[in-house]
């Protein structure tokens, strides 16, 4: 097989430093592994090799590193983690690029810092999905009778909507956002599963909703049927944890792997909430 042009000169192996954590609430620690170089690896294949070897650089036998992944084509968002200090998908982070463009000696892997760690590189992103529920990120068509064909969507709206619909709920925008801060709750003794879930949801609902959900609100508010719930969605944007938390650092749009115009959505949401609140004040 021909060597790829991008092979770093004279590299047989490289180091991988991983921030590990055994369980929620436990202390995290760095662990170093050495991985044999192969052309065209991605970070997932690196993690597979590390799991197979389960031995650190100083020869200690350790439990295999845990991580999440699914589609392996940057479509599902499950393998999102912090690689060399920057959040991205492990499946589309190519080793040749990392070694050549960032650090020729090592690759640093950390779990996302804004979500509770489940184990090693696996995090609990339920706050992200709860925000989509809060945002009513769907078109309401369920019912007991036939609604008929939906209204036509103009090409202009389609052009605006399509980029927003590419969101895969990976969490990059939230990880890079200086205004989105970690919320981690621990279950109290005597608390039932249901009570704990309820407390988590209530706490998440008061914390920043995030760029992904703001953008989904703008997506469904421009849909001719989704529009019927526009006021309820805008109410969520002015509620505790709403759009007001945004500090316009614009990291979200810079790190979004799907290149979604998140800051445009945020500014449009700013305009929509301005109009919505004034309307509410003077119409009631």
């Amino acid at each position: 097989m021909a060597e790829p042009q991008s092979k770093p000169a004279s590299i047989d192996s490289f180091e991988v430093r991983i921030l590990r954590q055994e369980a929620p609430g436990r202390a995290s620690y760095w662990e170093r592994h050495r991985v044999d170089y192969e052309p065209q690896m991605n970070v997932i294949s690196v993690l597979q090799k590390i799991a197979a070897k389960a031995t650190t650089i100083d020869g200690r036998s350790v439990t295999p590193v845990a991580w999440d992944c699914n589609c392996l084509e940057e479509i599902c968002g499950a393998c999102t983690m912090v690689i060399n200090g920057r959040v991205r998908q492990a499946c589309s982070a190519l080793v040749d690029n990392l070694l050549q463009q960032e650090d020729p000696n090592e690759i640093r892997l950390e779990p996302m810092s804004k979500f509770p760690v489940v184990r090693d590189l696996m995090v609990d992103r339920s706050r992200l999905f709860r925000a989509l529920e809060k945002a009513r990120a769907w078109v309401p068509v369920d019912g007991y009778y036939e609604l008929g064909p939906g209204p036509r969507v103009s090409p202009e709206v389609q052009e605006q909507a399509y980029p927003l619909s590419k969101c895969m709920s990976c969490g990059c925008c939230l990880e890079a956002c200086p205004q989105y801060t970690k919320v981690e709750l621990t279950r109290l003794s005597g608390e039932t599963d249901e009570e704990f879930q309820q407390r988590k949801r209530a706490t998440y609902d008061q914390s920043f909703i995030g760029a992904h959900a703001i953008s989904q609100i703008m997506l469904f508010n421009m849909h001719p049927t989704g529009k019927h719930e526009a006021a309820a969605r805008l109410d969520q944007l002015t509620a505790p944890g709403g759009i007001q938390i945004c500090g316009n650092a614009q990291n979200c749009v810079a790190v979004c792997p799907k290149e979604i115009p998140l800051t445009t959505s945020i500014a449009r949401a700013g305009r929509a909430t301005t109009a919505h609140v004034i309307k509410k004040w003077f119409d009631r």
Binding site: P178, G190, E191, C246, N248, N251, A267, A272, T273
Partner: protein, 289 residues
């Protein structure tokens, strides 16, 4: 036992409104006031008489001046500063890992806000002594180097208060922070309220806010250089003539005007300022050894 579901605080429940008021107050009245303030002070570049005339105009509000000061300057600044601290506390700057331009501006907006806060607190003490009670002014403010400004001797007292290296340097840093905070604040305000939405519009807004900031910075350094180019004795002579004319016309009552005039003779103040100068330069010399 179930943990009670957390209830949002008063601040959380009204945060949208508070943040929008915070955004608005930064421009009107705080930002607008700062522009007026810098332009009035820049009039000292023209002449001490121009500057003194502007100050007389402001003080012609008489007993309404405190109402205007509290309603349009102090309370809005305090509101903007206090909620500004709350906002800063809610964020976690990360320019180390994400060194993008907008992110650096986000961090700078917070840093300059903090600098501006301390600078304004110092500036109001340095010029006005914070409170106008005689006891406070005589026993606390003036001995600590505050309350240096006398409105009816505007140019001369300002010039004497602006001696040395440290004070002009503090003002240069403080004013630059304030100007950046306003110019960048207008840019973020445009996004917050939904004025500029697309990336192209935001880029144009960045350029416009940048030019505005540079122009205001020029005005700021114009007013900064005013006292450095003014001779306090010449200024004091002009101020005395203007004061005498106002008293002669009956516009000013000498009894009531007394607390707005420089207390000592110019000779004493100059001597005091000179002592400070020599102390500062001695301090500098000691450090350099």
């Amino acid at each position: 036992m179930a943990e009670p579901t957390p209830q949002p605080t008063f601040f959380q429940r009204h945060e949208f409104l508070i943040r929008r008021l915070h955004s608005l107050s930064g421009l009107i009245p705080v930002g607008a006031y700062m522009c007026v303030h810098l332009m009035v002070n820049a009039s000292l570049l023209n002449s001490p008489a121009s500057y003194q005339k502007a100050v007389y105009q402001i003080h012609s509000l008489g007993s309404f001046l405190p109402i205007v000061e509290w309603g349009f300057i102090f309370i809005p600044i305090l509101f903007h500063a206090i909620f500004g601290v709350v906002i800063i506390a809610g964020g976690l700057p990360n320019t180390g890992n994400y060194p993008y331009k907008a992110n650096i501006r986000y961090t700078l907006q917070r840093a300059t806000g903090v600098i501006a806060f301390f600078f304004i607190v110092y500036h109001v003490f340095h010029m006005h002594g914070w409170f106008h009670w005689d006891w406070w002014l005589d026993n606390v403010a003036r001995p600590l180097g505050g309350a240096r400004f006398a409105p009816y001797n505007a140019a001369s007292t300002l010039t004497l208060a602006f001696r040395g290296v440290v004070i002009p340097l503090v003002y240069a840093i403080g004013v630059t922070s304030c100007v950046y905070h306003l110019a960048n604040g207008i840019w973020t305000m445009g996004i917050t309220w939904g004025v500029w939405t697309s990336p192209a519009a935001q880029r144009r807004a960045t350029a416009v806010c940048g030019v505005f900031g540079l122009l205001l910075l020029a005005v700021a350094f114009g007013s900064w250089s005013g006292p450095l180019r003014t001779d306090p004795e010449d200024a004091r002579a002009v101020e005395q003539k203007m004061y005498n004319a106002k008293v002669a016309s009956g516009e000013l009552d000498p009894q009531q005007a007394e607390h707005k005039r420089a207390s000592g003779h110019l000779g004493e103040e100059t001597a005091a300022a000179a002592t400070e100068d020599s102390q500062q330069s001695n301090g500098g010399a000691t450090k350099s050894h």
